[in-house]
Each structure stands twice: as C-alpha cells, then as structure tokens.
C-alpha cells in the first residue's frame, strides 16, 4: 500500500511561493521515494529548478517517513536547518505536508498532488482499491469494491455502459462490476448479486465530517 502522488507543475509552485525568495525543500523517504515523486533525486531536481527561477535554496532534507511525527529529539535539529526559510516545499502526500506544517511557523506548501492509496498489482503498477467509506462491502462483492472500482459507485450491478469488460469512461478502465461478476462466478456465489443492496449510510465517511480515531477513548 502506497500513497500515490504526482508532481505539481513548476509554474504552480512558483505561484504558490509568491514573493518568498528563501526556500527549503523536504522530501519523503517512503512512498514518494519509491514511486519517484519526492525522493533524493526529485528534491535535488526541484531545488535546481527553483534556484534557476531566482529562489535561494536554504537547504533540503529527505525525511524517512514524512507522515510520521518527527521524534521529539530530532525536532530541534530540523527547525535549525529550516531556519531562515520563508517558505517550505514538501514533496510528499498531504499527510507529510500536514505533519511538517505542524512544526513550522512559515508557509508549508505541497509540491505534489495526493491521488489515492494504491495497491501495487505488479512492478510499478498501482491501483486504487478502497475509498475508505467506513462500511466495508467486500464480503458481498467478491473482494472488489464497487464504490472505488465502479466509476459511478453503483451498488446493484453494472450500468448500461459496461461493454467487453470495460467501463464507459474509456481509457481502458475495467468495469468494476464485470470484475465483481467474474469473481463471484468463480466463487460460485452469483446469488449474492440477486439481493438488492439498500441505500448507503455516507455519514460514516464522506458526509460525516473529518474522520478521527482516538486510541485514548477506550474504556
């Protein structure tokens, strides 16, 4: 499982910077390093581009896991190297941006777009499988999520746009319901598709406000 990110165009980054001249660049040693969006190389590359655009690079660092809280003893050192920067770019997913931003008093800006949490299907191929809806239906759909793999998040079978195993949105996207059908057929569980699945409770996720989980609430 990896947090999948893509690079924002330089023009957008320069616009985000505004008048800030002194910039620090943070990379992440985990997902962005693996998929090549925010590792050592990309941090160096972005720093060079920013320098070419007239910015002063105060320094760079690649944190081992940008989304994890920095150990207490490392925080002082981090603040010391960032010191003097007017803005900080973080080449990680939004979680890393958030984590770093919490430590700093200067604008902490995303250099990447966070796309989805992806499963590596095979070398270098990542697939979104879960939309974190808070009410898992994989047990009824052969382990394939209709919210995520169907472009219309349908719950009761494919729409009329499923042809030859492909979704109507094109681009070779497989029809999620064809996948569900094939899997349930292989499992001998096609009867599951005869049940009408009732309307969903989206308040458990997308419409329920920001998610929060506290380990400290256990009684």
């Amino acid at each position: 499982m990896k947090s999948i990110t893509t690079r924002k165009p330089l023009e957008e980054l320069l616009e985000l910077l505004g008048d800030a001249k002194r910039v620090f660049v943070v990379g992440c040693g985990t997902c962005p390093t693996l998929i090549g969006t925010g590792g050592v190389e990309q941090v160096a590359e972005l720093s060079a581009s920013l320098a070419e655009s007239g910015r002063k690079i105060v320094g760079t660092i690649v944190l081992p896991v940008a989304c994890e809280p920095l150990p207490f003893e490392a925080r002082g050192e981090f603040l010391a190297v960032v010191d003097g920067a007017e803005s900080v770019f973080v080449m990680s997913c939004a979680y890393g941006v958030r984590q770093v931003s919490d430590l700093l008093a200067v604008p902490t800006l995303p250099a990447l777009n966070t796309m989805f949490v992806g499963r590596e299907e095979q070398g270098g191929e990542f697939q979104e499988e879960c939309s974190q809806c808070g009410d898992c239906v994989l047990g009824l759909t052969g382990g394939i999520c209709p919210i995520t793999r169907c472009a219309k998040s349908l719950f009761n079978g494919p729409c009329g746009g499923s042809v030859g195993g492909l979704c109507e949105i094109g681009g070779g996207v497989p029809c999620g319901w064809q996948m569900i059908y094939d899997r349930l057929k292989a499992l001998g569980r096609l009867e599951l598709l005869e049940e009408i699945l009732p309307v969903r409770d989206w308040s458990k996720s997308f419409s329920g406000g920001p998610g929060h989980y506290s380990m400290n609430q256990r009684k």
Partner: protein, 305 residues
C-alpha cells in the same frame, strides 16, 4: 391503477404502447418544448423528457414535463442518480406529483466525462435500483427513504431502463429482474438494432416470467444519416449497430428513406417478439419524424382510453 396515467392505461389494456422522447432545449424556451410536443402529440401515448442526457446541461426534465402536462400530454419524467442526492431526488419527485406528472423513469445516468462539464463532481448517492425502490416506497407506504411520512399520495408509474447489449450479458436478465423486484412497472430498453440478439434476451426474460411482472418497451432510434449511425456505433455508450446496417445505409441513394425503412423493419420484427409490450422511439433532435414512422408502422391512431 398505480398512477392512472395514459401510459399505464394503454399498457394495462394490453395495447401495444408507443412512447416518444422529447429532448429539452439548451436554454429556457418553453416554446421549444411546446413546438415539439405539438408536432408529435398524436403519435405516442406518453412522452419522455431526458434528464441532462449525455451529461450535457439542458432545461430540467421536471420543468419540461410540467409544460407537456399543461398541454394535455402524458409526460414520462426521466430522473438520473448522477446529479442529485437522495434529498433532491425525493424533493423533485414531490414536485413532479404537484405538477401532475405520473410517470417516472429511473436511470443511473451517463458519466459526466461524456458531457460539456466533464470536470463536474458526480453525485451517485444512491443507484437506479435504490431509486426505483425509494419511489415505490413513497407510493405504497407513503414514506421517504428516511422512514418519515410523505404528506399526501405519490401516484407514480415507475419505469426503468435496461441495455440488452451491455455486459456481462449473462447477468443482464438478473439485473432487470432486480429492477422489477425493486418496483419497475415498465422498462424502456436501449436502442434495438441487432434484433436476433434482442430476441434472445427477451426469450430469457420470458423464461423467467419477468414479462408478466413488468411491461417491456423496445428502444428505437431512427437513423437519419450514415455519419450518425457510425457515430452511435463508435461513441454512444451501450449502443450496438451491426455493420450490415451501416453498409446498407452507405449504399442507399436516399439515406433518409432507407433509414426509415430499416427502422420500420425493426419495429415490425420487434412487435411480434413475445413479451414486448410497446416501443420507445428516441428520435434525438429529429422528433418531427416520429409521426411518419408511427403511421407507416401501422400504429396510428393511438388508443383513446
């Protein structure tokens, strides 16, 4: 009678029904709806108004159906799950009841990617099967999805769609059965061009007894030009046009006439397929041809019930 609409009466009287589609304008002209409605009012039993079809913004189906109703026509309001959540869907159903609209066709909706606002956020709060079930609950139990009571009756004749040519083909009958179980009183299918494959599908439908629990209307889309046929074959989601038909149109001297002949032949064949209770003519942007087709198909005058 569930809603007492003209469409329901025709179908319940075992008459071969004809419905026709009226595409609303890309603007607020009631005249545009009135002109189209007037031109074809004698040629069909009820008139579908599409709901922002192919994700292109047009006048709302609710408003256009209200105009048709005012003219004395029996509208079929199409309702998609793409653009409205359950609050708005149920609200618009109440609005439709208030305007005297009695037929409601529940659909999923083409993806926004096809339309003129491909960057729009899709809704899909509930799906078409769940919408059908919700309308039925409003009608039979007088309750909203939440379980709260609806003030007053909801006399709606509920429709659904099915595409006999979509995949997985082996699942299409079960999917239709699900829609009928949810409450679909009538079904309008995707355009039929490949009649043998449609007949094969209908055989399955009849074997399951679904044709006795709902009314199936075969979709008919008249073809005006060879380019249109090719375009539909290549780009319209879920439509399959046999190459032989395209070749026939290519060879024709009078493509318009040949196109009408092709459609009349399809209607002739579809009429006798067991379980088919009518046709649904979608002359997209060519509504004025409907009376000629219906007349030449020997389906005029329409029954007065």
């Amino acid at each position: 009678m569930k809603a007492g609409t003209n469409l329901e009466k025709v179908l319940e009287a075992d008459q071969f029904a004809v419905t026709a589609e009226i595409g609303p304008p890309k603007g607020g002209s009631s005249k545009a709806i009135e002109t189209k409605g007037e031109a074809i009012r004698h040629a069909a039993d009820a008139f579908n108004v599409t709901d922002n079809q192919t994700a292109v913004v047009r006048m709302s189906s609710l408003a256009a159906c209200g105009i048709l109703k005012r003219m004395g026509l029996d509208p079929v309001m199409q309702m998609l799950c793409r653009d409205r959540n359950r609050i708005m869907l149920q609200s618009d159903i109440c609005g439709a009841v208030a305007l005297g609209i009695g037929n409601l066709l529940c659909l999923t909706g083409d993806h926004v990617k096809f339309g003129n606002h491909p960057e729009a956020k899709v809704v899909f709060d509930i799906d078409s099967v769940q919408l059908i079930a919700a309308v039925k609950t409003m009608r039979e139990e007088g309750k909203f999805i939440s379980g709260e009571e609806v003030a007053g009756p909801v006399p709606m004749f509920i429709g659904a769609v099915e595409n006999p040519y979509a995949d997985p083909f082996e699942y299409r009958t079960a999917r239709l059965s699900k829609k009928v179980k949810a409450g679909a009183d009538f079904i309008q299918t995707q355009a039929v061009y490949d009649v043998p494959r449609f007949a094969e599908w209908m055989k399955e439908i009849c074997a399951e007894g679904i044709d006795r629990r709902t009314h199936i209307l075969a979709g008919i889309i008249p073809v005006k030009a060879v380019g249109m046929a090719r375009y539909m074959r290549d780009y319209v989601s879920g439509v399959e046009i046999p190459d032989a038909m395209i070749k026939r149109l290519e060879k024709a001297k009078d493509v318009r006439e040949e196109g009408i002949k092709v459609i009349l032949e399809i209607i002739e064949e579809v009429k006798v397929i067991p379980g088919v209770h009518g046709i649904h003519v979608q002359a997209v942007g060519w509504e004025e041809i409907v009376p000629e087709i219906i007349e030449r198909a020997g389906l005029l005058p329409r029954p007065a019930l």
